[in-house]
Symmetry: C2
Subunit: 211 residues, 2 copies
DNA sequence: CCTTGACACGAACACGTGTTCGTTCGTATT
DNA sequence: AATACGAACGAACACGTGTTCGTGTCAAGG
């Protein structure tokens, strides 16, 4: 493919920079002013070329209708996930459902490339304590869960144990009339309990640890 | 704080949805049309209220100059980090430096809230094998590293061992005329080696595991 | 010397878009 | 009933912004 002219390249760069500093695309005249181009038609001319090469997309007759193709974070499929609490032995998980009032809550943002297709019903918890090192989860880690009340055998889920009054993260196995909660670490013994003693909070999706 | 009226809330929601589907903000008339509001001035009136409550920011005399405050990905400080290879015993890490040609590379996107201030010189590696379970890092995990050639004592770094011809992730301690590479798991023995046998690749910043 | 095409120019033109202003309607408040 | 005020209305108005068109420059090729 033929190379871009210097002018086209600088236009492309300017659009990228502009989008970094503002949350809206530039106008043709913004580009013209910044790059000291004498006429808006020159900008339009070059934008058409860039569009032809599929580097940008233009929405005709719409002001600031310039979009960058392959923009890092521009075609942003970023999901904001609320960190609604902590998970630790003895502490209940606040019921997720008010995912809207993210005002006072900490949130994290992840690109969809790190998640499976379904990005809904996700919430995050900060792990307190070392109660789950056997599952390669450390103190301070953030675990990302998909809210659901049932799960398949063998999935790692956060379960609320009614009798023990604590939440834990284990592999779930329904075995006849009892439930086996298997730690990831094979040196630890599983927990056996009655099915109506466990209340599944959500299924483990992702673990994030910031050093 | 007084609650938002139904109309103001739906305006706010519409702006958020619009920004999800397009890469530019809506006009006042976009909002008017969608919400079946009779006049643009009503939209303006409510936008002023939203602006007063610091829920949006408006750039006067600029078309589509509406920005959402606290926007998920709107005030997007999302960093795209290239996954430039794998880390596993016996395999060298490709030297990062061509971070620009992310065309063919897998990348991940993270909000800056998960990272410290410095978001530059970051790269990611996919972990192959179980050679680092002692550091709570599993097969298939993605480790995020900041490229640097030196480090402080006690930091977890990816080091290239010249003699052994392998890369490993360990805590680094410079002790006199030798270097101690300490696994995170205390049941494992540390590696002692000469300082000029180790070549620091980068410092561990984040661990991400997708189930 | 004359075309041809890529690129650039400047100035209108038409339409998109934010802003303003006078007005009305409902609901408390006095 | 009179008043005040938040909320909404409709219609202009002014300016922001994309588009178009005729023209000019310059290098490559006939």
């Amino acid at each position: 493919m033929k190379e871009l002219s210097r002018r086209q390249q600088s236009i492309l760069d300017f659009i990228a920079n502009f989008l970094d500093e503002n949350d809206y695309p530039p106008t043709i005249r913004d580009i013209q002013r910044e790059l000291d181009i004498s006429s808006t038609s020159v900008v339009d001319y070059n934008l058409k070329i860039l569009e032809g090469r599929n580097l940008i997309r233009r929405n005709r007759n719409i002001s600031r209708g310039i979009e960058l193709v392959n923009r890092p974070g521009g075609n942003r499929k970023v999901v904001r996930i609320p960190v609604i609490g902590q998970i630790a032995a003895g502490l209940p998980i606040p019921v997720p459902g008010q995912l809207e009032d993210a005002e006072h809550n900490e949130t994290i943002e992840l690109g969809t490339d790190l998640l499976s297709d379904n990005t809904r019903d996700l919430f995050a918890l900060r792990v307190k304590g070392l109660s789950m090192v056997d599952a390669l989860i450390n103190d301070g880690d953030i675990v990302l869960l998909r809210q659901q009340e049932t799960c398949e055998n063998g999935e790692t889920v956060a379960v609320w144990l009614l009798d023990e009054h604590e939440t834990t993260l284990k592999k779930f196995y329904h075995e006849g009339d009892r439930v086996r909660l298997q730690p990831a670490n094979t040196t630890m013994d599983p927990i056996y309990t009655a099915p109506d003693n466990v209340q599944i909070q959500g299924k483990l999706v992702t673990v994030i640890r910031s050093i």
